[in-house]
Point group: C2
Chain length 397, copies 2
């Protein structure tokens, strides 16, 4: 069986149209299945960052805000991210953390809500920070917060709902929520939606514009490989921008930031989502990292992602001793992100540590989840096969 | 006269105990007097950042959050900044922009205020972002905002004052406000104070602990040379930390961040000021940049700073044609930061551009201010002399 699966992996890799992309990353013999937490290093980053430090900061110094394009980088890099999540230019700005952007988006959405809408819905399985920040946004806008299962949002949204904050892909199980249908249902209820794309951007087509999403946020250090803590981003749909009333109206979002006007006049467009001075080194590392996406089709990424997780699930079924771990990731493609999560009721944490010692890196999420992220740009089918085989050995041991 | 001043500059440089520090920066023939906007590049940054990218991110990848100390970096770097502003360890956390930290601090301070205190004072000449963000904080905490001259704060604070937000050094004029007396007066009125240290940290001793300051924020890309948009910081005095109620309770500030608890329980200590995942590349560039402070006395920095600005003022008086520019920076040392601002009613913007073409970099702030920042670690008296001489030539031309 092992030989048959190994041969199948080799055949799938040989037919993989994205296979050449792997050479654009710094990788080694490790099977790195934690790109859903921190993406691998794109090879172009080191040289670009050395130039940003040595020449742009070191020699041009203050002139770089204009001459090296630092000032406009949040919008420029935002547009590059936007292209990967289905947003036309001028709607995405990069900067701050995901948490800070959740605050901007949820408060901004709540302030757009009509009379009597004072309820903020959050998906019950949300990544925790979204829930904490949404609660703060609710407290500071006179709203109350209610947690409901993401799948139940269409039925739960009502005349009091101002906005729902939803994770596109559940970080724990890898479940992909139905963005088009959920967005439409919330709109039908008169509510806005904020999508958190942390676990979908760069893994699958998102289609923000196509589906009429109101607001979206996400990080760039997972499937977008922007580096540790790379700047997050905020999407505000074009027709909402003029009414977007940010709770963090820093000077970078002013219509005339160097006018030093004591009165605040917000900028038009995506720049309204800016706050303070952007962390340029992290931002331009992200900019360089995004080069790996040149010429890549998100449809091809999605097709490979599903093929990888399908194949890994088959291999895991073949290698893992019965009962030691079971997948909690949905089987239907329409409900699956780009990770596989296995529930491993006994010794999950130790098993993941042992996997790492044997050259397979995933991660462990309490209480019992083994997470394996599949990043189609640099992960191949032989990697998936090896990971499942080693997992089987560890869990049999 | 020119020869006498040149000789004096040479003598002052020869006697300068901080002179050797200049070799720790990447500099050239330019007289760089814009370190109050973007500090020059410390030589140690490039190597450190190359290692962070190539080894910590590229090879250790996700393991670096623990093994390379990424997770604890905001507190560790915060303590290093704290040492430079008179804060004992455990009270400063690095991360986010100054604007975001102003929001945390002002909301946090307003939430500590006693019954009936619903007024937030801001200094009338504040750097604009502080005023914009304070207004948002007021709006979201049910307070009103009132702008008063920083010097008038002691008399203006009253029984309704919750908190005052004050710039330690006025960005436009270089005026240093009296932190000990203002803090004491606000406390006497039952109010809290948030100091913005952007233009004082690294330029003079601040003494946060010694003077009982409640909250402070600041950037690290000016006198601290942390790089473009380097992470800002938040100081919350130790005895206030347990009651600090952050408006941005992101998962990094949770008592058990990897517990993924749907309920928010804030961390103890400085970590409560964290929000989302820190921008590690920018943060560790700052960390490396702070190495230049090893063994440096802030008293020596302050003494040299005042000597530099004194000398520059004398040189400017000697070289600048009468009436073409006049200093708006206070003469008394106790009222002066580390910059000299000259009001130049006609052609200030063009004069500053011409200065740059002649190798002297300062900056221009509308409507008519020429700003020259003096960074004692890498600026010498001959630099000050040359800047004033070239300024005189430009304004005479």
């Amino acid at each position: 069986m092992s030989e048959r699966l190994a041969a199948e992996a080799a055949a799938l890799d040989a037919a993989d149209g994205l296979r050449a992309k792997r050479a654009e990353f710094v990788l080694d013999d490790t099977v790195y299945l934690d790109g859903n937490s921190l993406g691998a290093l794109p090879a172009s980053v080191a040289g670009r960052l050395a130039d940003v430090v040595g020449r742009e900061w070191g020699r041009l110094r203050i002139r770089s805000w204009e001459e090296s394009g630092w000032w406009a980088a949040p919008e420029r890099v935002g547009d590059r991210v936007g292209a990967l999540v289905g947003a036309a230019p001028g709607q995405v700005v990069a900067g701050d953390s995901t948490s800070v952007n959740v605050f901007k988006a949820v408060v901004g959405a709540a302030r757009l809500a009509g009379e009597g809408r004072d309820e903020i819905l959050v998906d019950a399985a949300t990544f925790p920070t979204d829930g904490y920040i949404a609660a703060s946004a609710a407290r500071m806008t006179g709203c109350r917060i209610r947690a409901v299962d993401a799948g139940d949002l269409p039925g739960e949204a009502g005349p009091r709902t101002a906005v729902a904050l939803v994770n596109h892909v559940d970080y724990r199980t890898g479940r992909l929520h139905d963005l088009p249908a959920t967005t439409a249902a919330l709109h039908a209820a008169g509510a806005r939606v904020v999508w958190d794309l942390c676990h979908s951007a760069g893994a699958l087509p998102v289609g923000l514009d196509a589906h009429g999403v109101d607001f979206a946020v996400g990080c760039t250090y997972k499937y977008l490989n922007g580096g540790p803590g790379a700047p997050a981003y905020l999407y505000v749909r074009r027709d909402l921008q003029a009414r977007f009333d940010s709770p963090l109206p820093g000077w970078n979002s002013h219509a005339d930031p160097f006018g030093m006007d004591p009165a605040y006049t917000p900028a038009e467009g995506a720049a309204r989502g800016r706050v303070g001075t952007p962390e340029i080194l992290s931002l331009l590392a992200l900019d360089a990292a995004l080069d790996v996406w040149d010429g890549v089709s998100l449809d091809a990424v999605r097709a490979k992602s599903l093929a990888l997780t399908d194949f890994f699930l088959r291999c895991a079924e073949a290698y893992v001793p019965g009962g030691r771990a079971r997948s909690v990731t949905p089987v239907p493609h329409a409900e699956r992100g780009s990770q596989v999560s296995l529930s491993c009721p006994s010794g999950a944490g130790e098993a993941m540590a042992e996997l790492a010692r044997r050259g397979v890196v995933g991660d462990f999420r309490r209480p019992d989840v083994l997470r394996f992220g599949f990043t189609p740009l640099y992960t191949g089918f032989a990697d998936a096969h090896r990971a499942a085989r080693v997992l089987g050995e560890v869990l049999a041991g």
